[in-house]
Symmetry: none
Subunit: 363 residues, 2 copies
DNA sequence: TTGAAATTGTCTAGTGTTTGTCTAATTTGA
DNA sequence: TCAAATTAGACAAACACTAGACAATTTCAA
């Protein structure tokens, strides 16, 4: 079976490049080296067509053909990716290009499978060919959720979350599905394999889901209150949302303020609510030089009776300050849960603050 | 794997800075020191691109390039994050910004009143000049909601919302309670009478409420899809949430991406979803120098069949660009609703646009 | 407030490089 | 025979580089 080859005319049509240009790119920059017929006509393989497309795409946005012509395919793809979207990106964006196609999944050209989207996962047949242990089915849900996120399918993502909720319970879904999912998305985001839009999207859906399912528990009236937010500069709210949900599940009454607030505002909210604790999530960046300052100021603004609890992937990067201000810094959601449980119990007795009266419960 | 480098034009595209500016920033302030080709052309690394982006964002909000050009990355990140999020003088000032004033808003100068939320609705005349008791009770609910917001009482706020929902219906609560409430909060925020924390808090609760109550309608399968978000730099998501809810109520399937996304990401999401429209809310910075650029780029990235609809208090401040890119800019939530209704009906027929056919080759 | 000084985005001009297009002469294919 | 591919070379438009000038703002002291 001869691997399908295309004459220059066809390639021109496929790539949008004129035959002239294609030839000149070959001659001057060695961009491709097509096979030839006996009579010296060019014959392009699918891979070469793909390559030319990528090159065309890159030059469209300002890259110099003379420089990129020699890049390897992998690099080329990265290049096109970073250029078509913001700094982080994957392919997609095909405005003028007639190609369209499945932007997310594989971009299956002739035979070359172009970069599956879960890089190192040897997830050959992820969908559970092996008899699923609980863990495996958990993992499967995570993968499904990830896929839904990739394609912006909010209904699918919700369905997965609800499936998980039924299967694992409120708390289980938080620890075993959402937590790893968030982590995975975070990593993909940092690697640039997922865009900020994906991250926002997933945040929105998950937040929505958590808020909704955690609500019932939030109505207890004597529950100790906790301010949940992220410090100024920390824009990723997913961690905070998870913390809020966990707190609600454990009989706290979280007051969720969204991401990125300066210390004064956090403290203000805490005081107005007679909060028992301030729960902060710190994920990215991990090298914020002002964060320590802010934390110290926050500590100063809060009465000593209010605990500051800091979690999140990058919390440990600020260990010094955390220690200095006496913040508690649990390792992982589990530990946080234990901690909250503990705090709630012990606060039950001494509690004499406001709260109590307020108003009835929600209808 | 070669460390990818970008020529100046690409960087310009990526950062929104003109090549002139990029060069001048290098020459005058040493903002970056790109590598060079043999022939003296500039080549920027990813890190340098990010740096320029941050610088661009920072200058956009009033920082002096001459001062911030030499800052380290961590500082820059912080600067941008703080400034964009917290905004109001308060804490942001103490950091690196020597200028005590609020660099952004000079809107509330002399007697010039800040614009009302969605254009001046001649309230009295529209609904009923008679001192309707309905209106009065509406107003009462708004006041109650405002009170709840001020004291961070999420349950109370929710209760008000639900009361409103029962009394006015899904759509009514959106137009008659949430919309004026959002407007009120926005104004109080600009006057500095409530903090960003209040605004975040209310956003979270309202968003949660809307998402929950609007959901049932969203599941229709043939519904046209709409990307809902705010352009980069626009951090107030309440308007977008309201739009999403309105769209859902009208038989659309909104894909809500949260606030502040760059054009490439919005376009990417739209393409992946075969969205019929992109709905943007523009509220706060009414003088963002970059927004026009971003909007133009967005238009370029989207196929012509995708409508761009822009609403929000400050939309009219960008009327020129909106006209240029052929965006629809409804005046107020009512008009938006009508528009969406119309679009949905007419889109029923033509339907499927997404490229579907992937590779042109045999495959 | 005013006015000088500094800041900063934009523009011009002159030079060299890069790159798409074009021509001409030949060969191939239907 | 005619349309299209092939090569090599020529060419001009577009682009990037430097250095400097300019005008609009902002800053800051009087």
């Amino acid at each position: 079976m001869v691997p399908l080859q295309h004459p220059i005319q066809v390639v021109s049509h496929l790539t949008g490049l004129s035959p002239h240009v294609i030839r000149v790119w070959e001659k001057r920059y060695g961009a491709v080296t097509p096979a030839r017929t006996d009579t010296n006509r060019r014959l392009y393989s699918d891979a070469e067509v793909e390559r030319l497309r990528l090159l065309a795409r890159a030059t469209e946005v300002g890259h110099k053909i003379g420089i990129i012509a020699k890049l390897e395919m992998a690099d080329l793809r990265r290049l096109v990716a970073t250029v078509s979207m913001g700094v982080h990106g994957l392919d997609a964006v095909s405005h003028a290009a007639p190609e369209a196609g499945t932007p997310l999944k594989e971009t299956k050209m002739g035979g070359s499978v172009v970069k599956p989207w879960m890089p190192p996962e040897p997830e050959g047949a992820a969908v559970g060919p092996l008899p699923g242990s609980a863990e495996q089915s958990d993992a499967r849900l995570v993968v499904e959720a990830l896929e839904a996120t990739r394609s912006f399918r909010s209904d699918a993502l919700q369905r997965v979350l609800e499936q998980g909720s039924v299967r694992m319970g409120h708390n289980g879904v938080l620890h075993r599905l959402i937590c790893p999912l968030a982590q995975e998305i975070g990593e993909l985001w940092q690697r640039g394999e997922v865009t900020a839009a994906h991250e926002h999207f997933a945040s929105a859906v998950i937040r929505d889901f958590l808020m909704r399912s955690a609500r019932p528990y939030a109505t207890e009236d004597g529950a100790p209150r906790a301010i949940v937010t992220t410090p100024a500069g920390q824009l990723h709210e997913l961690g905070a949302v998870m913390v809020a949900a966990a707190a609600a599940n454990l009989g706290w009454r979280p007051i969720y303020l969204g991401p990125s607030l300066p210390p004064a505002e956090i403290a203000g909210a805490a005081l107005q609510n007679s909060a028992r604790a301030v729960l902060l999530s710190i994920v990215y960046p991990a090298d914020d030089r002002w964060l320590p300052r802010d934390l110290i100021q926050l500590r100063k603004l809060l009465p000593p009776s209010v605990e500051i609890v800091v979690g999140g992937r990058s919390a440990r990067a600020y260990a010094d300050v955390l220690k200095e201000i006496g913040a508690i810094s649990p390792d992982g959601l589990e530990e946080l849960s234990d901690l909250l449980e503990e705090m709630r119990e012990e606060s039950g007795a001494e509690e004499g603050q406001s709260g109590s009266v307020a108003g009835g419960n929600g209808a």
